[in-house]
Amino acid sequence: MTNLDIWTYSVVGFTFALYIGIAIWARAGTTGEFYVAGKGVHPVANGMATAADWMSAASFISMAGLIAFNGYGASVFLMGWTGGYVLLALLLAPYLRKFGKFTVPEFIGDRYYSQTARIVAVICLILASITYVIGQMKGIGVAFSRFLETSYEMGLYIGMGIVAIYAVLGGMKGITYTQIAQYVVLILAYTIPAIFISLTLTGVPLPQIGLGAGYVEDGAQTGMTLLGKLDQVVTDLGFKEYTTQVMGSSLNMFVYTLSLMIGTAGLPHVIIRFFTVPKVKDARYSAGWALVFIALLYTTAPAVGAMARLNLMDTIQVGPVGSEEGNLLYEDRPEWFKKWETTGLLVWEDKNDDGRIQYYNDENPEFAEQAESYGWAGNEMVSVDRDIMVLANPEIAGLPNWVIALVVAGGLAAALSTAAGLLLAISSAISHDLLKGVFMPGISEKNELMAGRISMIVAIIAAGYLGLNPPGFAAGTVAIAFGLAASSIFPALMMGIFMKKMNNTGAIAGMLAGITVTLLYVFQHKGIFFIPGTEFLMPEMGMGPDWFFGISPNAFGAVGALVNFVVAFIVAAVTAPPPEHIQHLVEDVRVPRGAGEATGH
């Protein structure tokens, strides 16, 4: 075993032991504890748990890479995945907490006095959450296979086992307290390397400030800002200017950001976290605290992305662009480069047979002539996987082995905490909404708790199975999970609170219209349930790629939400208003007093 292996096994082993210890301490004895942690979680603690719940393997591992290669364009993720908390705090969380029940479909079913509405919500919830959880399962398998030298399958089984212990035993209660521990692990793992790297490149320890600071080379200020330097380095090689490159168009960025914000606010596994605090007041503050803990990572990520990109470019382009010695000799490539080549995430191909690495944008026609005059025959870095940006960051920056081990534990914490939250949302929808709500209304408390645990086990096995055999739709997390949450769940919840006259037919018609429009657009581009070959774009009828005002399918949830609102308004206007007691329910949800008495059954 190498020194790094010992560190990795110790750090990961220690964190897993901690999670199991918490699971044994926080067992659930009632359905209230199992679904909503007995509504006794402190708002700051809930904020921390929400942050871990929210920040997935994608936030931890992939986001900085997205930023590194998309520059300004990646702002859609930064704003979209944080701005949703404003909507959640102002428009949903306090009222849903006042309503005081266990699940999101339960509110939709009660408010719209309709089992159909509840079942539509359950289907959306399960589809969105399953798509999301497969990504986490894959993240766990990949982290294990890459760093702990086990097979992907073994890694996945270990991950399933750990989640099973604390989620089955403790339900929401166990999940909450392990998520708090997982947050601490993941935020340390993310920020420590970022601080070191920021210090090396700018002399400023805070990455949030360092990203704007002056660029330091060999210990001396260069008179350029880091961003200015990065802009220059990438444009010299034909890439788009980092600080101004857009994603699609400005309109696409606008709609994309809006879709992610609305989707974030409508994701059930996040919403149910706000059912765990004692009071309405706590739900409001707790959303603020959640965003504090999320912002710690999200304001660091732009620095990690930009600095990793600069490090990568500088590693390869060692001298002036176009000069003989300007490009790194393949033989001289650093250790981390070799290591990541074996995983296939970095692939080099010597196109002009000069033994040196040329990394530039060969798809830029304006740069082609210049590249040819240097004797370059195409971009030789055929594959640079974006996930490397976070995973290899400590090695690129030459940080000690314990930091690398911590990053592994952090990635696992991010994946495990999100998986557990999603699995709880799925299992409570099955045991509480389907079983108790629809099929067996007379089920006893004890049996429902047992049913909750069994559905949790089934959900974990299903998620594990899908992680081993990922279906096509697993790749569509943003399109499916955020699309469904934005186009169905968020509008239904918001109208339920803010429009007293919204009725069952309006809400159901709106949800179905929103889902249909969104999924049609996504499937049209990416295939029906992402099955290759089933795309049905029709360029001859004006329906080519991104035909709807240049909006990409991942960004379409906001359009679906708009359709949902419009259809719901029209249908509700021509059908009977909701009965008296429902209007009273809405009035009651709007005032905080009495939240303590409202209970789950």
Binding site: L227, T244, F498
Partner: protein, 84 residues
Amino acid sequence: MTPENRAAYWKANVRLLVILLIIWFIVSYGLGIILVEPLNSIQLGGYPLGFWFAQQGSIYAFLVLIFIYAAAMNRLDKKFDVDE
């Protein structure tokens, strides 16, 4: 609580929401996307300003908005005697 009182509380709440959501819109969509190009000609701590709003400033603003909302609603709850 009288129906009038209830309506007044709700109206005050919605008014606060609208103001805060307008700011939410301006800091992200306004300054981070729509006006990003002109703002980028201004520098803030080494950042082009529009870029800063899109990748840093909007997130800080979101945070502040939620805490302002929570504090203002606390006061409103007490004023209308609907606090817990």
